[in-house]
Amino acid sequence: MLLIHCPYCAMERPEIEFRHAGEAHVARAPDPSQLDDETWAEFLYFRSNPKGVHAERWRHVHGCGRFFNALRDTVSDRLLVTYKAGEVRPELPPQEHSR
């Protein structure tokens, strides 16, 4: 069971308090009606699914209830950093990339 740092509660809590919520930084267009079918399908159905560092959303559902973002290495299953919704994706030190 992972320990996850909630950036709102500012503490590490066990994984069972959280729920995964898909890839992060997939913003809904302000006016989807302006998008063509292909762009909309891209938004609906296509995700990056990387081997390595993945920006993803979690919700502290059994805690403060807030959605936040995390960078997780999908190879090691390590959560590298968590940050609040709306914040830009942080840069990682080089060694974290190469892990």
């Binding site: 069971m1 809904r28 006016d31 609906l44 959303r57 919704a85």
Partner: protein
């Protein structure tokens, strides 16, 4: 001699004055307090304890620990308390213990399954893959699947699980500590002492009943002048005196997970002859440690030679343990053989208690060891450069054949030696299982020929033999150093280092001994590598010849290392054999993954209290007790218990539901709708927020009015629905489906927090706050009007789809005028604490008005008569509002809402989408199956796609016929046409009709 002919007169840690009676396969035997089942059987001269998995070969006890591959037994207490596949080496003896052997019929000594051994040419490597595909010439493989495969599968197997439910309780605990020490042998104890003395909180877990590990099995040697076993006792006493230390014997660290979390399985009562029936049998510990010291020791390897699996052949280290810890000798005339100095200590100790040592055979040509010198001094018959090539004997080894390896690789016959036991040592394999589970990278030590911990992935240290330390002094030193390192890693000082002076030990010249890659004479006899799964050297060679190169593939093809012991004694031998056959190195062949659990863990331990009624929370409404009192039948809806129907004298479900439906339509019914999800949406932007979430328009909705809301996902598909009431300009009462309450709130929070954080809206789940009493039927107003205070419930003041606040039966309520039956209807929301009393007041008046309570089944029939959908029944995640005939609900002037963009994708505007229709059967009583397919002809050609499927099907007592709802391709254009529904007893002809079967104009609603 006490409790067994093979018990020594003195020595060991058993209590000879305390005799324990037990039975094995029905035969009464005696052991001593402190025995394991294995040591007690050996004390009685019993080596034969089981039959092997595939060939049913007679098998004996090989080891003295949890790595035991052969001695699997079933321990019987009573019905559900029967545990198969226990290792006899770990079963603590108690008075009255009943054990039986496994995988034999009719008896252990006369086992008909042993025919498999003679037929073994039929069972080569990959047997299952090659054969269970089935011979193609048999039509449909009937004879194979019905006759041969079941017979073979029955013959190959382990013990049988009991058929009755497990009556025991299992506990679960979370714990945190600075340092977790896995294993309480010399390294673990030294580590625990060092960490505790530096100030760390320490948990020490050991799989055995008595802590001390190899210190308990040594016959000679002292630490700081104190005998080793006494040292263990002293260390344990000191640890027990530390308030910061918790000692967990009988506790296996079975898993090492992310972020230094370990899973521990504690066996609490299995060793107890009369356990506390209220107490738990086992306990799962989930321990989060800041640092882990792995001190799990090493496991001795068997030698691989023909017929190396006869009872009486065991590991030399195990024999030492049985002798020195349990006072048991393995036989009267022993041959001791191997490629490691451990054989000399075993030979000296056995000779010391009067066992005749027939020969000590060292496969090494010129060992040059102090241990050998000591054995030579004692006059033992030692032969170097000698290997074992085979054994004889029926149910027990009686003779071994020896050979001399020649320079050309051949083996020259060197005669035979009669004996009744053979003690072997192929060297020691460090137990790197937990290190590997922690995702640390192993490295291959070519000099020692073993895998050792390499790069750590977590905060841990491997100490002692599992980390490659050799000899007791080095093992203790590495343990003490690991303990101090661990404490330091947790922020404590180094503490003072204890000095350990080890004397009088017969130290081995090498830690592990080289893996004995056997060169076997050609012939029929089997040389076993994996004893538990009956994998022979020939199977591995065959796999290599057939082209398998990676050990991961060879493992799955031959099943080596895949038994319940996960190849603890066999994996290194298998790797050596395969790499030898392929002329490559062990690291090139690779290493299979070490997986949790280290030893088998019961399902009970993993499940803990989460079983039966405690598996999932059970949710009951405030009215539940009333329904129970009326004898209602209940159904599970999610985690809720809902009243299903209220049978009266002699009524079956069909009759009760029919009566309830007729009563609602003719008079009035009362229904507990409390499980509906409820969300309070509040704030200046509440209407804006709901407009964006739901398809409907909400800004124009006036306070006091309701709207039927439909929620889509972004893909445009219907995922929830419910009535939404505007209580005030900035306050909405949103209802959801019973099952959707949590996911709808989660979705709303998601959009609010991450897409539209600028909106000023607050969301609160109020599902559990309100009891909801639905009163439905032409007399509904008559029933509630006298109970309502402070509001006019007349049709003009409170029309269909409106809401007001009032007192009902004296309780402040939100009173809705809504209907899910098509009748005049109200839903009274009162605080849940008053739910029961208001319900009783309402129900009494319903009864007086000729009405009744109705359950969820009648609710379903009534709504289906009106063509009202149930999300999840009429929808399946591919249905848009238009498909359901609900396009009218969409706010056409809205610029955006969740899913809106998807509704104009090309597939969504096709005219041949599946659409909701009604179906009527010609025979009025023919009931279609839910989910049955709808086709254009009675017997469509194979491969024809269905037109759709039946989503709901009921018998309507009000209409006097069966009705069904269905999703049918282009269905609204097929009104009046005949289609077919294939059913198990033949296709049923149906007519496509409107989905609204009852009161299509809706006149009843608006009374």
């Amino acid at each position: 001699m006490s409790a067994g002919a093979f018990r020594t007169a003195t020595g060991g840690r058993i209590d000879r004055t305390h005799t324990l009676r037990f039975t094995f396969d029905g035969r009464p035997l005696q052991g001593c307090a402190g025995d394991t089942l294995a040591s007690a059987l050996l004390a009685n001269g019993r080596h034969l304890v089981g039959r092997s998995f595939k060939y049913h070969r007679p098998r004996g006890i090989v080891t003295s620990g949890s790595e035991e591959p052969n001695a699997l037994v079933t321990v019987v207490r009573d019905g559900g308390r029967t545990t198969p596949n226990l290792r006899a080496t770990q079963v603590e003896l108690y008075d009255g213990l009943t054990a039986i052997s496994q995988n034999r019929w009719p008896s252990l000594t006369r086992d008909l399954g042993a025919i498999n051994d003679k037929l073994s040419l039929m069972f080569p490597a990959g047997f299952y893959y090659k054969t269970f595909m089935g011979p193609r010439f048999l039509p449909e493989n009937w004879a194979w699947t019905k006759v041969f495969e079941p017979a073979i599968r029955r013959a190959a197997g382990l013990g049988r699980a009991p058929t009755s439910a497990d009556p025991d309780r299992y506990a679960s605990r979370y714990a945190h500590c600075d340092v977790l020490v896995a294993g309480a042998g010399p390294a673990g104890l030294a580590a625990a002492l060092a960490a505790a003395e530096a100030g760390a909180r320490v948990i020490v877990a050991d799989e055995q009943s008595e802590m001390g590990g190899s210190l308990l099995s040594a016959s000679r040697g002292a630490i700081n002048g104190v005998p080793t076993a006494q040292c263990a006792a002293d260390a344990l006493a000191q640890l027990a005196g530390h308030a910061r230390v918790r000692l967990l014997p009988r506790t296996t660290v079975f898993g090492y997970f992310a972020q230094n979390m370990a899973g521990l399985a504690e066996r609490i009562s299995d060793h107890d002859p009369s356990p506390d029936p209220e107490g738990p049998r086992e306990r799962l510990w989930q321990v989060r440690a800041r640092h882990v010291v792995i001190a799990t020791g090493a496991i001795e390897r068997p030698l691989v030679f023909s017929n190396n699996d006869r009872p009486g052949i065991m590991l030399a280290g195990a024999a030492l343990t049985y002798l020195n810890r349990y006072g048991v000798t393995p036989g009267q005339r022993a041959v001791i053989a191997g490629s490691h100095d451990g054989i000399y200590a075993a030979a000296l100790d056995l000779a010391g208690v009067g066992v005749e040592v027939a020969a000590v055979l060292d496969t090494r040509a010129d060992p040059q060891s102090a241990a050998m010198a000591a054995a030579l001094d004692a006059g033992l018959p030692i032969r170097t450069g000698t290997c074992i090539v085979g054994s004889r004997g029926h149910l027990r080894v009686s003779e071994i054949m020896i050979g001399a390896p020649m320079a050309d690789g051949s083996i020259r016959d060197a005669g035979r030696i009669p004996c009744d036991c053979l003690l072997m040592s192929g060297g020691w394999t460090p137990s790197v299982h937990l290190f590997s589970q922690s995702r640390g990278k192993l490295r291959f030590d070519a000099a020692a020929g073993v895998f050792l911990p390499g790069v750590s992935a977590q905060s841990e240290t491997s100490a002692g033999a599992c980390g490659g330390a050799s000899g007791l002094a080095a093992v203790i030193e590495s343990g003490a150093a690991a303990g101090r390192t661990a404490a330091q890693a947790c922020g404590f000082g180094l503490g003072r280092a204890r000095a350990y002076r080890v004397e009088g030990i017969l130290e081995a010249t090498e830690a592990t001994g080289h893996v004995n890659a056997p060169r076997l004479p050609q012939g029929m006899a089997k040389a076993f590598v994996d004893f538990q799964n009956d994998v022979t050297s020939r199977d591995l060679e065959l796999a290599a010849r057939e082209g398998f190169r990676s050990i991961e593939h060879i493992k799955r093809y031959t099943t080596t290392g895949m038994a319940t012991d996960q190849g603890k004694t066999s994996n290194m031998n298998a790797l050596a054999l395969v790499s030898g056959t392929l002329n490559t190195t062990v690291p090139d062949v690779g290493l299979t993954t070490f997986r949790q659990p280290y030893t088998p863990v019961t399902f009970g331990t993993l499940a803990g209290m989460a079983r039966g009624d405690l598996f999932d929370p059970i949710r009951r409404t405030s009215i539940d007790g009333w329904a129970q009192g009326k004898g209602a039948a209940f159904e599970d809806v999610g985690t809720w218990k809902r009243a299903w129907y209220f049978p009266r004298a002699k009524e079956d479900m069909h009759a009760a539901v029919a009566r309830e439906c007729r009563t609602v339509r003719a008079a009035v019914g009362v229904f507990d709708a409390s499980t509906l999800g409820k969300i309070e949406v509040v704030g200046p932007d509440a209407a804006e927020f709901l407009e964006r979430m739901y398809v409907n328009a909400f800004k124009a909705l006036k306070p006091g009015r309701c709207r039927y809301g439909i929620l889509l996902n972004e893909a445009g598909f219907v995922i929830d629905d419910g009535v939404i009431a505007r209580l005030a300009q900035d306050r909405f009462h949103v209802t959801t489906t019973t099952g959707g309450a949590a996911s709808v709130l989660n979705m709303m929070e998601d959009y609010l927090q991450t897409e539209w954080p600028d909106l000023q809206v607050w969301l609160t789940s109020t599902t559990e706050q309100w009891a909801v009493i639905a009163v439905q039927g032409p007399r509904a107003r008559d029933v509630i009007a006298p109970l309502v205070d402070g509001a006019d419930v007349g049709g003009e003041a409170l029309p269909h789809m409106s809401v007001c606040e009032a007192k009902v039966a004296g309780v402040p309520a939100r009173l809705f005028r809504v209907s899910f039956t098509g009748e005049l209807g109200f839903e009274i929301n009162v605080p849940v604490g008053a739910g029961r009393s208001v319900w009783e007041a309402v129900a009494a008046r319903v009864e007086d008005a000729g009405g009744c309570a109705y359950g969820t089944e009648a609710m379903h029939v009534l709504r289906a008569e009106k063509g009202y959908i149930i999300v999840g029944q009429e929808t399946d995640g591919t249905v848009i509002p238009e498909d359901l005939g609900l396009g009218w609900a969409i706010g056409k002037s809205k610029a955006d809402f969740v899913g809106r963009r998807s509704l104009v994708r090309p597939d969504m505007i096709r005219t041949d989408r599946k659409q909701l229709v009604g179906l009527l059967t010609r025979g009025r009583d023919v009931l279609l199956d839910d989910g049955a397919q709808v086709t254009s002809v009675a017997a469509p050609a194979k491969g024809t796609a269905a037109l759709g499927h039946v989503t709901s099907s009921y018998h309507s007592s009000v209409l006097g016929k069966s009705i069904a709802l269905a999703l049918v391709r282009g269905g609204r254009g097929l009104m009046g046409q005949r289609l077919h529904v294939p059913m198990p007893k033949g296709a049923v002809e149906v007519e496509v009709v409107s989905p609204v079967f009852y009161d299509p104009k809706g006149e009843k609603l608006n009374g």
